[in-house]
Structure formats: C-alpha cells, structure tokens
C-alpha cells in the first residue's frame, strides 16, 4: 500500500506540568513539530528530562497537550479504537499485573485488541520466542526480572501486529545481548514494512539503527534529519594505534609532535588531523621501528552534533 502523507505528524505541541499550587508550571515541551513517515525507523533522542516520555504519552492519549495537534495515519489521535489497533506501544520501564503469568497477560492484551483466541495464542508463542521468553510463558510476572519485563513489554506492543510501533527507551535496562536482540527486532519490523518510533538517551544505539533522528533538548527540537546527513562525511581526525610506545626523541625524529597522542598500556594512540599528516606520520613511524596496528578515520558522531546544537540552543535560550 502506498501512503502519501506521514504516518505520524506532531504539530506545535506544547505541554506544561503544574509544580504546585502557587508555583509557576514547568514547560516540558515547547512548540515541538515533527513527522514520521511509513516504513521508517525514527530515533527520538535527548538526555534525561528532555521530554521524550511526555511526547510519547501524548501520542498514546495518556497525557493531553496544552496546545498543538497530533495526527496519526492522517486522522486525529482522538479517533479512538480503530487508530489504537494500528499502534503498538511499550512504555518506559514497563510494569505488568504481577498476579498474571506472561501468557495470561498476552491473552488479556489480545482480548483488548479484539483478536481471536487462536490468533492470540499463535502470535504469543511466536513473539515470546522472538523476545526470548518462551520458557517464562507460565511463570508469574511477579518473578520476572527487569530485563524480562522489558522483553514482555516488547511482546505485548507487537502482539496485534501494529503498523506503527512506539517504544519508550526499549534498550535501557538491558544487557548488551538484550540490546542487540532488540535492535534485531526493530530491524525485522522495518523489513516487514512497519514503522518504528523509539526514544533513547543513548546515541550510539540510535546511530546504527535509525533512518532518521529527532533530537530533543529541554522540550525543544534541536536537530532533525537523516542520520547520514547529520553525521556527514566530515572526518574529525584519524586515529593511529602504534606499537610499541616509542620514546619522545624517536617520535620527534619521526616528525610527530609530543602532544599528538597518548600511551594506552603497551600501545600508543595518535590523532592525525588529515590523511596527508597520517601518511607522513606512518612513514616516520615505520622508519623509527614502530608498527602501525590500525588507522581509522573518526567521523563526527551524533554525540558531537548533539553537543554542538545544544550549546547553540542554550545561548539562544538565555536571551529569549
């Protein structure tokens, strides 16, 4: 099916929370606009307290904005049941009825989504094994670990085969294996034609996975775009790893200034500004009896871009 407009569009969303009876409410979201298109993986990035969870709650009608509009699948978010059936949502640090087993919980979710019993059963088995919880199907959720909760959260979000999957911090609280599995699941969703919108405060998780990112800071959007556009082709520096750690006089003889690097155990790490310099250094190093173990151009990451933009937005924030 070819879709014209965006699947999710957020227009000029603002939200404040009251802080007390007398005090001024705090602004959590200011004039946030963004879009998610069909079959994209979009990362929603920002440090803790940026307003990611608040935005995601608004998308799921768990909170209501002071101003602005959310449009899902081209219609208003308030459309209710039909729209909800096409969305899967996993909250931040999900928590479930501890008196149920994982299987019972998914059965409840299936009923609420209007799925048939047989459908629910087969989807549950499939998803539980996909998230690595097959063995815990009949275990009371009371006995689940935090990581298992997270996995069950993912399973319930995907149970009714939604077109748009919204995940709040799906990777936090998981071990490296778990994070890798979640990344795999998100990639599979894209391959199956779904759209994924997920938040994270860990930039490296997002960099490798997303088609596009939206960066949020203090409730304002600071950057939006395709990952490769944001990162660009720009090389920050070239990192050389050399063995052994050459003494200062031999480095000088190789034409390398003393502040160009640092020793890391038995290795010497050098940062060359560009390819020409790296090549001159390598020639000098080889002449002086060093071995170049690796030579890697280091690109500007989302982290650097984020820090740049946040620095900029902070200074404008101070004047406004």
């Amino acid at each position: 099916m070819i879709r014209q407009g965006p699947i999710l569009s957020i227009e000029r969303l603002s939200k404040s929370y009251p802080t007390g009876f007398w005090r001024k409410p705090v602004r959590v979201l200011s004039d946030l606009s963004c879009e998610v298109h069909a079959n994209e993986i979009v990362g929603f990035l920002g440090p803790n307290g940026a307003g990611k969870t608040t935005t995601i709650k608004i998308l799921n009608r768990l909170a209501f904005p002071d101003a602005g509009k959310v449009t899902l699948f081209g219609g208003q978010v308030r459309d209710g049941a039909d729209v909800r059936r096409r969305i899967g949502f996993m909250p931040e640090q999900p928590y479930f009825y501890e008196y149920l087993t994982g299987g019972e919980f998914l059965r409840l979710c299936g009923q609420l989504c209007g799925m048939s019993r047989a459908d629910t059963e087969s989807r549950s088995s499939e998803l539980l094994s996909r998230v690595g919880l097959s063995g815990a199907r009949d275990t009371a959720i009371r006995k689940y670990s935090k990581g298992m909760m997270q996995r069950l959260g993912l399973a319930q979000a995907l149970l009714h085969d939604p077109e748009l999957v919204i995940l709040d911090e799906p990777m936090s609280g998981l071990d490296p294996m778990g994070r890798m599995e979640v990344r795999g699941i998100i990639r599979d969703l894209k391959a199956a034609g779904k759209t994924v919108f997920f938040s994270s405060h860990i930039l490296s998780d997002v960099e490798a996975l997303c088609d596009r990112v939206i960066m949020l800071h203090k409730g304002r959007k600071v950057a939006e775009g395709r990952v490769e556009e944001l990162i660009g082709a720009e090389t920050l520096y070239i990192e050389l790893v050399v063995s052994p750690v050459l003494p200062a006089d031999r480095l000088a003889a190789a034409g390398i200034p003393p502040d160009a690097g640092y020793a890391q155990g038995a290795l010497l790490v050098l940062r060359a500004a560009d390819n020409g310099q790296a090549n001159r250094w390598i020639a000098g190093l080889l002449r002086e009896g060093g071995t170049v173990l690796s030579c890697v151009p280091v690109k500007k990451g989302l982290e650097e871009i984020f820090m740049e933009r946040v620095g900029g937005s902070d200074s404008t924030g101070a004047t406004s």
Partner: protein, 258 residues
C-alpha cells in the same frame, strides 16, 4: 466495547481473588459467622432472631471492609504501577476501564457475600435452631450486596482522583452518613427556615440512602411483606451507581498520567 469491559472485569476479578489479604478477611468473617453456632448456649430468648441479627450484621460489616479495602485501590493502583499505560494504549476507552474495574470487583463481592450468607444459612439450618431453612438470610444479604456495589462505585470514584487513605475516609464517611440520611431529612424538616428545609432535602437526595438496602429487620421479624421493595432498591442502585460511574468517567476522561 462489551467484550473489552468484560475482559477488564475478568482481569480485575482475577486480581482480587488472588489477593491474600482478601482471603484473610474472608476467612475471619466466615469464622465469626460460624461462631454464631455457639450463641445458642450463651443466650436466652429467640435464638433464631439473635443469630439472624448477629450473623447479618457480621456479613454487613465484613462486606463493607472488603468493598472498601479493594475499592480504594481499584483505579489508583493501576495508575501508580503504570499498568494502566498498557491498557489505555490498547483500543480501550477510559470509561470502559472504569466500568470494567467496577464490574470485576462487584463479581468478587458477590461471591464473598454469597459465601458468608451460605455459612449463616447452614448454621441456621443446623439442628440447634430447629432445622429451619431461612431463605430470608439470602434476601437480606442481597440488600447488603447492593449496598456493597454502591460503596464500590463510590470508592472507585474517589480512587480516580485521590490517595487510597483519603478514598477510604471518604467512602467510610459516606457509608456512615448513608445510614443516617433519614434523620437528616427529619431534622431538617423541623426547621422554621424554608431554605434550611430545602437544603436538607437536597442533601438527602444527593447522599446515598443506604437504608434503602436494609431489610434485616423485616427478615428477622417474619419475612418481607413484598418483593417490590427489592425491585425498588435495585432500581435505586442502578440509577445512583450510574450517576457515580458517569462522574468517575468525567473526572477520568482528561486525566494526565504521571
């Protein structure tokens, strides 16, 4: 819509019957009601009357304890533990959630009331009391049950916007006042000032009149004259509960979850 309400009700029912504290209260209640068996040894006079009075009063008190204990956390627990995030992100509307929760707890209370009434019935039926099958126990218990459902609706109303402790205080206050409203009416009517009379009548109709569900005396003094009183009470329950639930839904409709 109905299917979703029933699913939530079934889940709430499961939640409450897997609650160990409820079992403790129920076990104690059944024990106390069972002990009326020995009242015959201690008291003189109309044994059957005493057992009906003490037994039905026990069912009433323990029923209220259970309704309030479960009702005050009915909604707030889900909000606190964020389990409601999952439910409301599904195709579930907020009023369906409120109705389902209340319905589920009503079913639990039906079973516990039935269990207590059955124990009392059996004690009454035993040889010591002449082996009379006193159906009135069940009729009076039906009235108690209707009252419990109304209290559950009130508790869940408070549970949508305040803490469990405050919900308990509000619900228990309404329980006490609800049994005294007719005195309010009588007292107010004696006033010389018309405004006071009107105000007292207004409050009388506003507050739940829980005496509408009280047939303990009729049952103890030789049975109900007519069953129309039951129908009237059921009608009152439906109308009042509907108003309370609608108010809950209104308060809940635009609530932001933390």
């Amino acid at each position: 819509m109905l299917r979703r309400i029933f699913s939530i009700a079934a889940n709430t029912f499961r939640e409450t019957i897997r609650n160990k504290i409820l079992y403790a209260i129920l076990a104690f209640a059944l024990f106390v009601i069972g002990m009326t068996f020995f009242l015959a040894d201690l008291s003189v006079g109309d044994f059957a009357r005493i057992i009906a009075d003490v037994g039905l009063a026990s069912i009433h008190i323990f029923g209220v304890i259970m309704a309030v204990f479960l009702g005050i956390t009915l909604v707030s627990n889900e909000v606190e533990r964020k389990t409601i995030y999952i439910l409301l992100s599904k195709p579930v509307r907020r009023f369906e959630f409120i109705f389902g929760k209340t319905l589920g707890l009503s079913v639990t209370l039906l079973l516990t009331t039935l269990a207590m009434a059955t124990v009392l019935f059996l004690v009454h039926f035993s040889y010591r009391y002449g082996g009379r099958a006193e159906v009135g126990i069940f009729i009076a218990s039906a009235g108690i049950y209707m009252e419990l459902v109304l209290l559950t609706c009130l508790a869940s109303l408070f549970s949508t916007f305040t803490t469990p402790v405050l919900s308990a205080i509000f619900t228990l206050s309404l329980f006490l006042v609800g049994h005294l409203t007719k005195y309010l009416y009588v007292l107010g009517d004696q006033s010389k000032v018309e405004a006071v009379r009107w105000a007292s009548r207004f409050i009388f109709y506003l507050l739940p009149n829980l005496e509408n569900f009280n047939w303990k005396n009729e049952v103890a003094y030789g049975g109900l004259k007519s069953f129309s009183i039951l129908g009237w009470a059921a009608g009152y329950l439906v109308a009042y509960a509907a108003c309370v639930l609608c108010l809950s839904c209104l308060l809940f409709a635009r609530k932001d979850f933390k």
